[in-house]
């Protein structure tokens, strides 16, 4: 009996993974067709908060449901999923760039604070994990139920960027001080 249940659970898991993989493949195919989604490594600024709120808000969905057309509801889900994935891709691209800049500066620094470096690395890994979870979750359940997680990722990415900015300012101040001395 236990073996049979394990078999059922295993089959269900494989099926679930196949659904996630198919959705992921379809979503990434949609993104690759988009010229807007390319070159996001060059984006200097993260998406403003008000737009992030709009991407994950329920208000537009409620309006679309009021139209009472299954085709438009499907179109909405597809389009909003695509926008949300562009945003996640952007957040992780910006974070990677910030970390590359920080790693570059850290290599040249002579007085690294280990606790600070561990804190930055922890935040970076945390954010990358949230982005990975968001990407999968957006493809599986759509962005509507993920507003809280998206808000968390947005906040975390801003913290990483601010931390990097303050470290850079500190490094510049120290460099200027040592030149003056």
């Amino acid at each position: 009996m236990i073996e049979f249940l394990s078999l059922i659970a295993g089959a269900a898991l494989v099926l679930l993974l196949m659904v996630v993989a198919t959705r992921g493949w379809r979503a990434s195919r949609d993104l690759d067709e988009l010229p807007l989604a390319r070159g996001d490594e060059e984006i200097a600024e993260p998406c403003p908060e008000e737009f992030v709120r709009r991407i994950f808000s329920r208000a537009d969905w409620d309006f679309v449901r009021g139209v009472r057309c299954a085709g438009i509801e499907r179109l909405y889900e597809r389009e909003r999923r695509r926008v949300a994935l562009v945003w996640v891709r952007q957040i992780s691209a910006i974070t990677r760039r910030v970390m590359r800049g920080h790693a570059e500066a850290a290599r040249q620094s002579k007085n690294l604070e280990v606790s600070m470096e561990i804190s930055i690395l922890t935040q970076y890994l945390g954010l990358m994990a949230v982005c990975a979870i968001l990407s999968i979750a957006i493809q599986v359940v759509g962005p509507l139920r993920l507003g809280g997680l998206a808000h968390f990722a947005q906040g975390l990415s801003q913290r990483v960027a601010k931390l990097q900015e303050s470290l850079q300012a500190d490094a510049l101040a120290k460099a200027a001080g040592s030149r003056a001395a």
Binding site: L34, L36, A37, G39, D40, I43, E45, P46, C47, P48, E50, F51, V52, R54, I55, A59, D60, F63, V64, V67, C69, G71, I72, L75, Y76, E79, R80, R82, V83, V86, W87, Q90
Partner: protein
């Protein structure tokens, strides 16, 4: 009359007062502003503004206006955007069906994106216009069915 003391903000205010305020609806303003941009160089040009301000100041003022209008529209709810697209279509000289069909097929609104705009914001705008067009098309079909039924 090239007054070197004028700023981009002066040129922008002048443009808003004299030109943009006469256009009804933000979508029409957006399309108009995008049309002042050269496809090859990405530089903006407006004869009236260029006659009053330095070329680069006029260009920057138009770019600023373009970005502002774009962000205003992109931040709208889908419901508001549907109303905005409807205003634009009703104001055009072509038939409603024709404009809806061409906009859905050719997606000319993609040309209205400012340069270097945030990719997620640009995608949100494009997606929302696509949805607004589908909703208006659906309403149009429903109206046609009601007319046929009555």
């Amino acid at each position: 009359m090239n007054d070197k003391t004028t700023t981009v903000e002066d040129a922008y205010q002048d443009f808003v007062r004299r030109s943009l305020s006469r256009i009804s609806g933000d979508l029409e303003r957006l399309i108009y502003l995008a049309s002042t941009r050269d496809y090859n160089t990405g530089k903006y040009h407006h004869d009236g503004l260029a006659a009053q301000f330095q070329t680069d100041i006029a260009c920057q003022a138009l770019e600023l206006a373009h970005r502002e209008i774009f962000h205003r529209i992109a931040a709208r709810s889908l419901e508001e955007l549907v109303a905005e697209v409807e205003v634009y279509i009703n104001a055009s000289r072509q038939s409603r069906e024709e404009v809806l069909e061409v906009w859905q097929k050719l997606e000319p609104y993609r040309v209205a994106l400012p340069v270097n705009v945030n990719a997620a914001v640009a995608q949100l705008f494009v997606s929302n216009v696509r949805l607004a067009l589908a909703i208006l098309r659906r309403r149009q079909e429903q109206e046609a069915m009601e007319v046929r039924a009555s």
